[in-house]
Symmetry: C2
DNA sequence: TAGATTGTTAATCGATTAACAATC
DNA sequence: TAGATTGTTAATCGATTAACAATC
């Protein structure tokens, strides 16, 4: 396993590792300080082999008996996640959901940053400036934006999606239940809140 | 494979099957009308064996040459999804995200329904009545609510979670990045928007 | 009968876990 | 050395796909 095939499952755990290493009093930070995968696993409620695999895929081998170098690990985690140099994304659709996401604080730890929001007519909501759709293309070109969050109605989804792609976006996180048809060089990920709820409802407990 | 082990992946496809069957002009609806898994697969962009497995797990065997009975399939899909008799859920936390979800229209097709929202202090937002947290327990007991969506800040997550469980909730869809610790008879599903974005960012295209 | 469509069994693939060998 | 901790290989598990047999 090497750094090029970090799975989504692993990626989801990386910020937890980083946060644990940075904040736990059980982890020391002097030069040469080390941390064991077992310690991390125990605190995060994960299997220790799993942690070991995640970490070694990311930061290279640990050392038997002593564990992983804390400082190397921090650097590698920050580097891979990109928390110091987050990727800019835009939001398209500034209704209630779009505005909520626009003001959401949890993105930085995952290496992304919402830099702008667009809607049919520009406006100003909760201190953040919303730009009109017409400005999206030039904004994205100028700022090299390739990722968009779409929070628009099911009805508008395909139409807006076409515009978004036209603006140079090639990765879309879509909150609509409609799966827009897109050219094959564009990637759409559906985030379906209702499905998560339904799965919960059906999960036997 | 039988109806008791419908996977989450399958569950996510069921509403799409139902919608296709109900709305596609390629599907007729008279008594004895049938539809083939291949037709569904082709239209939804899925493998036909996959569709066949999903459908037969849900509604029992199809018939070679003729396919699946449309009416049986519709009944089974509606029955399993529960769209005619949706499960009530509550929202806890009526900030921007909570309010957005409260007004979200996409739940019915997945067999769930948001029936109330709670926040520290009750209020009225966008025509929907928000109740104070103190009323949650009696409301849930009276209405038999066992599922909650938590849309509160990371800081408040554990505190509110305890209150939610106290109110009789045993399944929680949590938008916070904090994973609350809960008794083992309570199920928490994390829905992490930032992770979805990060995964998209790292997906090679 | 022939052909469309299904069901079944085995193969693949990815993620996780278990068992054990290696090493500092 | 002994023991803590790692890495590696094989097993498991779930979802999907491929190949093929069954049947109306």
């Amino acid at each position: 396993m090497n750094i090029n095939d970090i799975s989504r499952a692993t990626l989801g755990r990386l910020p937890r590792y980083l946060e644990f290493i940075e904040t736990s009093p059980e982890v020391s930070h002097g030069p040469g300080a080390r941390v064991s995968s077992s310690l991390i696993a125990r605190n995060l409620g994960l299997g220790e082999v799993l942690v070991r695999k995640d970490l070694s895929a990311l930061a290279g081998a640990g050392r038997p008996k002593t564990g992983f170098d804390v400082s190397d690990l921090e650097t590698a985690l920050r580097e891979y996640i990109g928390s110091d140099n987050p990727t800019p994304v835009i939001i398209v659709g500034a209704g209630r959901l779009g505005t909520a996401i626009l003001n959401y604080k949890g993105f930085t730890g995952f290496g992304v940053e919402v830099v702008a929001a667009f809607d049919r007519s520009g406006s100003k909501k909760n201190d953040r400036h919303i730009m009109p759709l017409e400005d999206m293309r030039s904004y994205c070109e100028k700022n090299g934006i390739r990722i968009a969050i779409m929070a628009v109605s099911d009805d508008a989804c395909q139409t807006i999606c076409d515009i978004v792609i036209e603006a140079g976006i090639n990765k879309i996180l879509n909150f609509s239940q409609v799966r827009p048809s897109v050219p094959e060089n564009v990637l759409v990920e559906q985030l379906n809140i209702a499905l998560s709820l339904a799965a919960l409802k059906h999960s036997g407990i």
